[in-house]
């Protein structure tokens, strides 16, 4: 093998490109592979610019990228398995989770063309399409949507699943979606994986549920309060709670023991009254009750 490789002639420009790619990978603590399939070059330029400062995008031939990753080694070569189709390398010294968030946020919806693979389920929603009666009903039905003419226009009568994730979009479906103005694709830099400080993160691991974290913060705060109060360790935030708790305890004791304290007297009277009413409610014979208690 090595003998063969020696005889292989590598053009100078390729060597330079690999060297640059190697530098690129070396420069960042996190390097990822992004899918750029279907992004027009002008849009790609814009994206590149909008990343400026937080991350850098580098597009090259896949074989050269692979060669660069191998030459860096150190685990970066594991990114090779995510290289296929039109991809680029993205590098950042920021948090890879933050990078993923940023890239997702920058995606924009786009129409899907015939022959493309549905990136997720495509559902035509129930409702009035606003299209006048005509052959479009048949087209909708052919695409798999429940459709009929109602009140002078074409209606989709229920949410209709017309493509599963991974399905190839037929020309008929692409047509129908275009007619409806639906843009089921999300176009943007699609982060497949990031190798960051020795750890490989795939895209699903990078997707963080902020709501869940928020709930965790609430839970942690509630736990802190609970502990502070239950262990009677007062903090500025919980001191009023402890005072209230102590008061509540004293009140509970006072009412249950019918302690003759001016602070408790009104409550004791109320309690007695409530008891009389409860007892009276169980007496069937109205003769036995004063007028104000008769049912």
């Amino acid at each position: 093998m090595s003998a063969e490789r020696k005889t292989e002639t590598i053009p100078k420009w390729k060597e330079t490109e690999v060297a640059e790619l190697t530098d690129f990978v070396d420069n960042y603590s996190s390097v990822g592979v992004v899918n750029i399939t279907g992004i027009p070059s002008k849009q790609l330029q814009n994206m590149r610019r909008s990343l400026h400062g937080s991350a850098e995008l580098r597009v090259s031939r896949n074989t050269l990228v692979e060669r660069a990753l191998e030459s860096v080694g150190d685990g970066f070569e594991d990114l090779e398995e995510y290289i296929s189709g039109q991809v680029g390398l993205i590098g950042t010294n920021d948090n890879p989770f933050g990078l993923y968030k940023e890239l997702e946020a920058s995606k924009s919806p786009a129409p899907i063309s015939a022959g493309e693979i549905a990136p997720n389920e495509i559902t035509i929603p129930e409702g009035d399409t606003g299209v006048d009666p005509g052959p479009f009903v048949g087209e909708l039905q052919q695409a798999g949507a429940a459709a009929r003419i109602m009140d002078g226009s074409i209606h989709v009568t229920e949410d209709s699943l017309v493509a599963e994730e991974g399905d190839e979009v037929s020309p008929e479906l692409a047509n129908v979606l275009a007619e409806l103005g639906m843009e089921p694709k999300e176009v943007g830099l699609d982060l497949r994986a990031v190798y960051s400080d020795g750890v490989m993160f795939e895209s699903d691991e990078l997707a963080i549920d902020v709501d869940e974290y928020r709930a965790d913060v609430e839970r942690a705060a509630a736990f802190g309060r609970n502990l502070s109060v239950n262990a009677v360790y007062p903090t500025e935030q919980t001191a009023p709670l402890l005072v209230s708790k102590a008061t509540g305890e004293a009140k509970s004791l006072g009412l249950q023991a019918a302690i003759e304290s001016p602070d408790l007297a009104p409550d004791l009277v109320s309690k007695a009254d409530a008891q009389v009413r409860t007892l009276a409610a169980q007496i069937d014979d109205e003769e036995a009750l004063p007028e104000e208690l008769r049912g």
Partner: protein, 69 residues
Amino acid sequence: MEYVYAALILNESGEELNEENLTNVLDAAGVDVEESRVKALVAALEDVDIDEAVEQAAAVPAGGAAAGG
């Protein structure tokens, strides 16, 4: 209400809840006692578990809850 309160006192003191005792308590409080009502009350309470009723009421926030609403 005074008749029912009187019954509650007897219930706590452990004295028998009968016409005579009820009448005595009410008398002592200066109530102009109606015999028929005493009779009716004693009869009516015969089948009532007073302690249970009292506890049930205690579970009701005395006055407080209003504030909670």
